[in-house]
């Protein structure tokens, strides 16, 4: 057990060394934990959200098809019931409605401006510094 952990650690470190090099010299590697996820997002909650969205993406195709079967009055209800069960069997996190949006920069769960994926505070800040295209202070 210890040996395997050490080998994993060394491998991860090696990967870190090789991948932490400048992006222009990136070498594709097939292994786990190739990059430090913690450095990419402001919050661990945000990281969980990212994982959630990945699962959503994975099952999106299937879910859409099944929902299309369910949400109509043409398909016989028997099949629709089966479809209900099928969709219920899919992981809960694969549902879009289960996602909780967060601000991309601050990971704020509430007060978001959807189009820019930012919280209202960050949105205001960026708008004041002229970073948002077409956004202007209201004046009438």
């Amino acid at each position: 057990m210890a040996a395997t952990t050490t080998t994993l650690l060394t491998r991860s470190f090696i990967n870190f060394l090789s991948i932490s090099s400048p992006l222009s010299l990136q070498v594709p590697l097939r292994s786990f934990h190739t990059s430090l996820t913690a450095c990419k997002y402001p919050n661990w909650k945000m990281i969980k959200e990212v994982k959630h969205r990945k699962i959503v993406k994975e099952f999106a195709f299937e879910r859409m098809n099944i929902n299309a079967l369910r949400k109509n009055k043409i398909i016989p209800p028997a099949i629709q019931e089966i479809a209900d069960k099928e969709i219920h069997a899919l992981p809960r996190k694969s549902s879009i409605s289960q996602l909780h949006k967060r601000c991309m920069l601050t990971s704020r769960p509430r007060g978001l401006v959807t189009r820019w994926r930012l919280s209202r505070i960050v949105w205001r800040h960026e708008a004041d510094y002229n970073k948002l295209s077409g956004v202007q202070r209201a004046m009438w």
């Binding site: 090696i14 090789s18 400048p22 195709f61 299937e62 079967l69 109509n72 043409i74």
Partner: protein, 391 residues
């Protein structure tokens, strides 16, 4: 004045101080009183003093006369001094030093074979001066002006000296050695190159006193301002063809082993770290945000300006709209001609044809999924009566 004359006034009467005062005033001493600077009181005092002095001396009449004589002599002396000062001649000049003058050396003639020499100079062929030269000298003297005879005589004397010396030698020999007879040639040993001072300012005072003053801090001026390059004269001579060729630039480096550690070493982490270090040496981060943005754009992280909405959809341009719109043929073969399934699938096809954002492959995949799904549910569908159980 005789003694008899002196005795007479004494016998008659003794002069009184008032009379003395008058006499004094009339006498030469009155000059002081005439100046007016002295006050009347002072003058009186002085007079009284003189009177007392005179009284002491004036017992015999002779003494009066001697005082007068003295006064007169003193006056005379004064006058003489003044006269001498007025008409004093300047300090009498001492006889000037007789400095030694250099001897008038006789110039030795340099017999050169110069053909174009002017005839102004005397030719040393004949001892006797030619009459032409004499007339020429006379004319020159007259033109110069001043003492004609003196100049003429001088010129003639010089001519004679030239003729006397250079008359015998008719050869055109260049006696340069005569010039160097009296001169001494300095023979300095060739100094070694190292001894030559390269920077004289620092060799002026090599003692430590110059570099370090009382503070103990070295003087800034004494320290060399610029980096002293190695003196090329002191560097050792290197023979570049003495050793074997390393072959660094000729591509023979593959023969040379780069690292002593073998490739299959257990130091995996160390190797990785070494590789990373090499990469870091080669790679330089961007200088500023502009270059950083350029880098990101090349990597595909940033939008390329001018903005193209169909970035990443280059392959879709080759796909025609008919493939997007006409999806009915995908239902052929498996989908029943009538029934709820058909209805559903046609709706699906219509929806997909209206979707411009999906790729054709994805649309086909959707249809394929339904095909598989309904194939699994075929028995159930038949029981329900959705699919007509036709052979």
């Amino acid at each position: 004045m005789t003694a008899l004359e002196v005795e007479k006034p004494l016998l008659e009467e003794r002069p009184q101080p008032s009379q003395m005062v008058q006499e004094v005033c009339a006498g030469g001493e009155g000059g002081k009183l005439k100046e007016g600077k002295l006050t009347s009181q002072k003058a009186v005092e002085r007079v009284i003093e003189e009177d007392q002095v005179a009284v002491k001396q004036s017992l015999p009449e002779e003494k009066l006369e001697t005082a007068k004589d003295k006064r007169a002599s003193a006056q005379k002396k004064l006058n003489d001094l003044l006269k001498s000062l007025a008409s004093a001649d300047p300090m009498p000049m001492e006889p000037p030093l007789k400095l030694s003058k250099p001897k008038a050396r006789q110039k030795k003639p340099i017999n050169l074979d110069i053909q174009d020499q002017d005839s102004e100079l005397p030719q040393p062929d004949e001892p006797v001066i030619e009459p032409e030269l004499l007339s020429a000298t006379r004319e020159v003297a007259e033109s110069l002006g001043g003492d004609v005879a003196a100049t003429e005589s001088e010129l003639l004397s010089t001519l004679r000296s030239h003729t006397v010396n250079g008359s015998n030698d008719g050869k055109s020999s260049i006696d340069w050695s005569d010039l160097f007879v009296g001169m001494k040639v300095e023979r300095t040993q060739s100094k070694p190159a190292e001894a030559l001072p390269r920077r004289r300012r620092h060799h002026q005072d090599p003692s430590a006193q110059r570099t370090i003053f009382g503070d103990g801090v070295p003087n800034k001026k004494s320290l060399p301002r610029t980096i002293t390059r190695p003196d090329p004269r002191t560097l050792a001579r290197v023979d570049i063809f003495g050793a074997e060729c390393l072959g660094i630039f000729t591509g023979e480096s593959s023969k040379v082993s780069k690292s002593a550690v073998p490739a299959s070493s257990s130091l995996v982490v160390w190797e990785a770290a070494r590789k990373r270090e090499l990469q870091q040496c080669v790679y330089h981060p961007p200088d500023n945000s502009f270059t950083e943005m350029i880098q990101w754009t090349k990597q595909g992280k940033l939008w390329v300006f001018p903005i193209d909405n169909e970035v990443g959809l280059e392959e879709e341009k080759s796909v025609g709209f008919h493939e997007h719109v006409f999806l009915g043929h995908h239902l052929d073969g498996w989908c029943p001609q009538r029934g709820p399934i058909r209805h559903f699938m046609e709706l699906v096809c219509t929806g997909l044809s209206k979707n411009p954002y999906m790729t054709v492959e994805r649309k086909r995949a959707h249809l394929e999924w339904y095909k598989n799904y309904f194939k699994e549910k075929e028995e159930l569908l038949k029981e329900l009566g959705a699919i007509e159980a036709t052979p």
